[in-house]
Amino acid sequence: MSRSVLILGAHSAIAMATARRFAAEGWTLHLALRGPSRLQADRDDIAIRLGVEVTLHDYNALDPDAIDEVMADLPALPDVVVCAVGLLGEQETAQRDADFATLILRSNFEGPALHLERLAGRFEARGSGRIVGVSSVAGERGRASNYVYGAAKSGFTAFLSGLRNRLHGTGVGVTTVLPGFVDTPMVAGRDLPPALTAQPEDVARAIFAAVEAERDVIYVKRRWRWIMAVVRALPEPVFKRTRF
């Protein structure tokens, strides 16, 4: 019996690369996203190339009951869940438009947190499983250029941290993924420094390795760990003057 992974927000480049990584290792895939028919061709491609079972599920991260509907669809409780739900959103639009800011906050924090809590309960009852949350280095400290998104991710990171703390000793693990810059359609057109920019496949490899090694917090590119240590350590009177 092959192991199975449920991927929430499966349409993103990181999620798809992660799906292929797990499939290459023989895992069964359950891909949940809004408008699952969008992934039909990718589903077929993965099934043909890698010979694993792949199912698609309609899933809206902002609908509180959506996770229960997905779970009802599944043949069994998955071994691992990867939450790649997220919405970057334009910071300036979020400053002007409260509805848009709300959407960013709910997509990156409220939706993922509520759904993972439900899954955590089921994993805890079973006494095994791993929950992987894709958060962001933007959540480590609020910056002018994306602090609405950053605040939501900060909340998500704190949620994952607390969940990990609560579940310690139950057999259920929690992994926080902090990818840094990733070369995906979400950031298309932005000028990213190549030395700090990972490919979606790099993130996928890191996630799979973290699951196998039961890691708590991972940065995809190691230098981000040091960069963020410096960013966190800057005194606020200095930090508030920076622009990056």
């Binding site: 061709a41 990718d42 077929d44 491609d45 043909i48 190339r49």
Partner: protein, 435 residues
Amino acid sequence: MTLTGWGRYARYPAPLSQPAPGDLASALAGGPVIARGAGRSYGDAAISLRRTVGTGRLNRMIAFDEAEGLLVAESGVTLGEIVEVFLPRGWFPMVTPGTKTVTLGGAIASDVHGKNHHRDGAFRASVAWFDLLGPDGTTQRCSGQENAELFDWTLGGMGLTGIVTRAAIRLRRVESGWIRQTTLPCADLDAVMRAFDTHASATYSVAWIDCLARGPHRGRALLMLGEHAGRAEIGARAPFPPARRTRTLPVDLPSGLLNGWTARAFNAAYWRRGKAAAGSRLVDWDGFFYPLDAILGWNRAYGRKGFVQFQCALPDAGARVGLSALLDAIARSGTGSFLAVLKRMGVAEGAFSFPMKGYTLALDFPATRRALQLIDRLDRIVLDHGGRFYLAKDARMTAETLHAADPRAARLREMRARSGLSDAFRSVQSERLAL
């Protein structure tokens, strides 16, 4: 961004987009485009100065019919990916060129041929159907039954009829990934031509020819025959060996390194080695079909100036005299080709496909002035003997030469004008060759 063909001879500042499958139709708006797959055609066939549309994101396999061996895939999928997925399940492409890095779309546009052309025909023989994105942004299913004329022109049509988005190809059943290879040294041109006919029933046949040997040795060659090995033949070997490890040529070698002197030495050594290794042995699929793929970026061996390929076909009637004249001209010039490949071809098919019943000779030269002058002379010889040229290799021919060699070129141009394709699909090559 700078685009070149695999020969890296002519370079063009040309914008390349890689649209998602759903955005392909909108990529057509705003002037002539040309599709570009893996960029493995040697010249300027997959470059448009206006807009070059990459098929890199059309990379999904859609369906596989296990009973028929029929694979449906998007056009950016490469033959290498197909081998990787399906060889372990006992399937191999029916027709493959000498590199597995080509995409399905590229293989269709060039109607590529392989070592089995004399028996099985060109790539078209394996194509059940494809979907073609036309100038109006809609996609048409094309097959031998449906839109048959467009199907015929597109196979070998160098991307000038539209953009192939999906294709269905038939694979062949194989018992193993091993090839029983037989090497036959042939003392001169007559001997190798006779040997091709003697071994006409071989599944695969191709000859390396020493294009610098003169006098009694002119045209000496190593004829290589191949058959898919059955389970009983392979002994304890793994039935489906994986692709060979690749090595990368990390830098451009100095431009002058591959020259007449080194070519002569290489050819002489290759001949001696081949003669010594004559006979039968088992080789894995990657070594038999794709020897050059083992060195990623081998095109950099010719240095920054790049190289040009020359590949012609000569009809049976003019083949012997024509090949002799070509070899004489090359030997006289001293501008040697490292890899000269001679191959027997089967019947001609299709509206604009390259192969014709007879022989094909493929050569590569460093892109020097002397070599380019030599190739102009080779063009003339091919014209005089009723031959024609492989556009997937071409980077420098004139429109006059093409149209003199091949009356079908004018028919393609006329068909394109009539169907509104001339304004929608253009490459640097199609403009150079007045297609």
